[in-house]
Each structure stands twice: as C-alpha cells, then as structure tokens.
C-alpha cells in the first residue's frame, strides 16, 4: 500500500477519500483553495497545502499547482475524487510523467471512454447492447432518412461538437425529419462552428441504470451490480438507489458477464461505472462509461459491504480483486441516497453562505457523507452538493421509511437546502411504488406547481 496519497478534490468526496486512506494507514495530503481554508477535508488531513485562489480553474483544476503540491509533499499517488480532474486524461498523463500513480484507469482508457463514438463502438464489438444509431456523422438528409428507417422512430439528432441541447432535435416521423435535420444542422453550425450531426434512437422517458465495476491491474474485472438513478432534474441526479427494481437477476447476470468480458478486452483498470438507458420494455442500451468513482457509490457499498474507495486504493497499489472482494458478492437489502444540495427547494437557485445550525441524523441504517458542520461556510465557487444521506434497509419499503425519518431529523439552517424537496418526493406514491423514469421529476414539479 502507498505510504502517502494526495487527494485532489474538496468537499465530501475529499473527506471520503481521506477516510479510506486513513483506515488503510496511508498518510494524507489535502489541497485546498483559499475559499476552503476552514474545510473539514483540510482539518482532517495529515498535511494540507493551499494551491490557489477560490476559482476552480486557478486551484483545483490547476494541473501544475496540484502536481507541484504532490511533489513538494512527496506523495506516491493522487486520488482525483469525482468531477474536477478525475476524467482528465492529460492530468493522468502528467501524473505518470511525474512518477505519481494516478488512482484511476490509464489515460489511454480514459481518453477512449471520453470519446463517445469510440466508446460505443468498443462496447458494440463486445456485444454490449448500445443505443441504435448512425455509425458516426450523417452526410445529408437522404442518409438521415435511411438511418432513421433502420433505427426506427422516434430518433434524436445530435451535434457532434455539441452539448447543452443545442443542435438537438427529436424527430417522431419521416415527414418531419428533413426540416428538423436542417434546423439542427444550422443551429449546430451556428453554435459550435461545426454543423455535423449524428443520430440515435430516441427513448421516451427512459430509466437510468448503471453498473458499478472494479478492475484490477492483473486483468480481472468484477461488477458490483447496478444502481438506478432515474430521479434527475435537468440531467442532475437527485436520488439514487441499489438495486434497481427493474433489473431481473437474469439481466443482471447477463450484463455483468458481457461487461466483464468487454472491460477485460479494453484493459480497464480501477473503478468505473457503465451507464445505460432502459426503455419501457426493460431493454438496456449503453450510453457512456464514467472512469471514476461516482457520487452515488455509497448505495453500492451498502448492499455489497465493499468499500469502493479502499478498493480503488488497493487496486492502484497492485492488489488483486481476489484479495479485495469477498469470495461471493451478494446483494443484501436495499439502499437509497439523497443528494442534499445547497439550493432553494423550489427555485433551485444555489444558496451559498454560512450554516448556523447543523444536526445530522444517525441511528440504524443511516449513513451521512458530508464535509460540512455547524458554522461551516458554503462558498459560491463550487457545486452545490453539501451532504449525501444514505439509508440501508432490509427492503425498499424499509429504506424509504428510514429515509423519511432521517430527512425529518436533518436540520440545516442559514442556507437553503433540498431537504424539503426530498421529503416531498419520498411522500409521493409514485416514487414509493417505484413507478418512475427520468421524466419523473418534470412531472412531479409540474404537479407540485399545480397543487
């Protein structure tokens, strides 16, 4: 195991990684921006180094600053957490060049998975079901029409260079396709200076299902089952759970086997998440792979008993999966996570400021991951996640009951939080019945506005 690791992140995930290091007897180095001087990840690290001013680009995203800190603290490895530099292949390369172990997959794999079309093709070759669509860019309307006929309506046109919904159109019939193609092309050309489009099958209100994987550096891959993250608002996950009610044992086993084969071929290493959409018939389609630990990893930890961050550290230090995982992985009970954000529960505006009261729920089945505390400060520079509330029950009903109890005891004053939004969702019958998809939040919010 490493003697000393630098954690290149902040907030709850920095503390989460520090805890794992601590429990493995690894010395920890925190880095922080000037805005985070009084953060718990700084307080609870063995050493801490200020790497820049508050803006992320000047501090947490500043590769030379992070690497310099790693060098002067003389660490053997860097854990990037999630977000920030975690999926930055260049950063992983600089780490390698600096003789520092990057705790994650090799940069080549990160880069492959970062290029959506290449990732799709890699998965397709390994017989992972992917979303049907054009093989890359579409030349013109005629080609679009023939792809659409093959894929089946509805289809979605997306800008190759795009993002944020621009250059994106959903076509529900052959009649409307030509006009939509031209509109999307023009919009993409205008927005990105590149009008190239590709096409995918459009799935109405899919469920979001993802599989957790671990791969060691000796070529072994294991999946730790799935999570369902369909409760999203504007593609931001709000509530995650494991297992998914929609995944049958047979599907689980088939997908797992396919993923293990595929990721072995790719040479995947360390922790990763393979994301799928599920249509209303229960069919899964690969969409992308995240080459890092996820925010929602604790629900998998709850049902498997495996500490995923410790597993990352142990894999990176050369241990094999057979030493890390129990002989037989089993799902035990049901776990749900709520993301507690510093934002207005109705307007969703971020809420920075000083916390004036902070009571964390505890007791049987409750886990809280947070770097906040009474009188902590939420700076305005970073994302709004301030705590994760995770519950684990014998079944989903028990987990929901436990979450409702815990939410009612989670007291945060001084700033706005999403706690009351979560309370409303957990009181909702559709949610309780598991009747949801990624369109749930939109419908829920519309209903709430009416009420």
């Amino acid at each position: 195991m490493f003697k000393k690791v630098l954690v290149a992140n902040r907030g709850e995930i920095a503390l989460r990684v520090l805890n794992a290091c601590r429990e493995l007897g690894v010395r920890t180095v925190a880095v922080y921006s000037e805005a985070d001087r009084n953060s718990l990840h700084v307080r609870f690290a063995d050493e801490a180094i200020c790497i820049g001013p508050p803006r992320p680009t000047d501090s947490y995203l500043n590769v030379p600053a992070v690497i310099s800190a790693a060098e002067i603290a003389d660490v053997e490895a860097i854990h990037p957490g999630y977000g920030l530099l975690s999926e930055n292949a260049n950063f992983a390369e600089v780490c390698r060049a600096s003789n520092i172990k990057f705790i994650g997959p090799p940069p080549e794999v990160t880069r492959l998975m970062g290029e959506k079309e290449k990732a799709r093709q890699a998965m397709k070759r390994a017989k992972v079901p992917i979303l049907p669509g054009s093989d890359g860019v579409i030349a013109d309307v005629n080609e679009a029409e023939s792809w659409a006929a093959k894929v089946g309506y509805p289809v979605i046109l997306k800008a190759k260079a795009g993002g944020g919904g621009r250059g994106m159109r959903i076509a529900r019939s052959a009649e409307e396709l030509p006009n939509l193609f031209h509109a999307a092309h023009a919009e993409a050309a205008n927005a990105f200076g590149n009008g190239e489009l590709y096409m995918e099958k459009f799935i109405e209100n899919p469920r979001h299902i993802e599989f957790q994987v671990l791969a060691d550096e000796q070529g072994h891959v294991a999946t730790l089952f799935e999570r369902e993250c369909s409760i999203q608002r504007r593609h931001q996950k709000l509530i995650e759970e494991a297992p998914s009610l929609q995944v049958t044992p047979k599907m689980r086993e088939e997908i797992s086997r396919t993923l293990c084969r595929c990721l072995t071929d790719i040479g995947y290493q360390n922790a990763g998440t393979v994301e799928f959409l599920m249509d209303s018939t229960g069919q899964l389609y690969f969409i992308e792979m995240n080459t890092r630990i996820q925010v929602e990893h604790p629900v998998t930890e709850a049902i498997t008993g495996v500490d995923l961050v410790k597993a990352q550290l142990r894999i990176a230090s050369g241990e094999e999966l057979s030493e890390i995982l129990p002989p037989k992985l089993e799902i035990r009970g049901h776990a749900i996570e709520c993301r507690i954000n510093a934002e207005h529960p109705r307007k969703f505006t971020p809420s920075a400021g000083q916390i004036t009261a902070f009571n964390v729920p505890g007791g049987h089945g409750v886990r809280v991951d947070t770097a906040q505390y009474a009188e902590g400060v939420i700076p305005p520079y970073y994302d709004s996640l301030i705590a994760k509330l995770i519950v684990h029950g014998a079944d989903r009903a028990e987990a929901i009951a436990c979450m409702r109890r815990a939410l009612s005891q989670f007291v945060i004053r001084g700033i706005e939080t999403s706690i009351s939004l979560h309370e409303e969702i957990f009181a909702d019958e559709e949610f309780q019945a598991g009747q949801f998809d990624t369109g749930y939040m939109e419908r829920f919010l519309a209903r709430r506005t009416e009420a």
Partner: protein, 164 residues
Amino acid sequence: MKQQDIDDLKQLIEFLKQYQVAEFDLDRGDLKIRLKFAQESAPSAGLGELARLIQSAPPAAHAPHAGAPAISAPSAAQTPAEEEDLHVVKSPIVGTFYASPSPGASAFVAPGDVVEKGQVICIVEAMKLMNEIESDAAGEIVKCLVSNGQPIEFGQPLFTIRTA
C-alpha cells in the same frame, strides 16, 4: 502632546473599554481620534468553537511528522511584520523556493538590498520548471521569510519589503 492630553486620552480609552466599545472615531477638525480595540479572542459563550478550532489549528500544526515538509498554512492574520507596515511578497504558485538562480550562485536578493518592482527576487520550482518570481513592489528587502529549498504554498509570504 501634553501630559494632560495623554491623561485625558487614557481616561477616555478606559471609559470606552469599560463600556465595551469596539471601535471609536472622533473628528473635531483640530482633533482626530481613531481607535479600535483588539478582539477578545474566544468570547464568553464559546459558540462556534469547531470553526475556531479549525482556524486556530492549521493542518501543519497537527502534522509535524519527521520527513514531511514543514508546510505552514499562512493566513492574512499571521502575515509577519505587519505591525511595521511592511509590504509582503507572497508566492503566486505552489512549489519549491530557491533564493538563487542555480546551486552555488549567490542569492537574487538579500536583506538590505533595494529592489525595483518587476525585479526577479527568487525562483519557485513547480513541475521541474524554474519560475522567476518578480517583486510586486519597490523598496528595501527587510527579511526573507523562507529558506532555500523549502516547499511553499500558494499565497505563502516570501519577503517583506519596506516601501517608504
């Protein structure tokens, strides 16, 4: 200032103190008084102690392990020599401090030297790059606050300069 004035002033200050005044300004044309009492650390109630604990125990203070670089967590309040109203040159990057352009060479600057704004006063090595750090003020170098080869943080004070 006459003794009488001083006595009057003392009396006033004692009185202000007694009434727990924190700041006081007086401007009567011929007489200007500005006064601010030092914050009495850790007020009675002891509230918010965690936050203060964190502030008062910077990470390096509870991690003084042998072999570890002695990284201090400077804060504005700790900046040295401010009572003399000296200018402090802080490190704009994280890295390793070098006083001279190469091993064995003499230092860029030494206490007593007069420097121009923009003059190179040291090197901070980051990622094998030797970054020349320029003075952001003109004046006389009073003190070098770090030693050769020492690891330094972003914002860490390097030199004090008497600007005048």
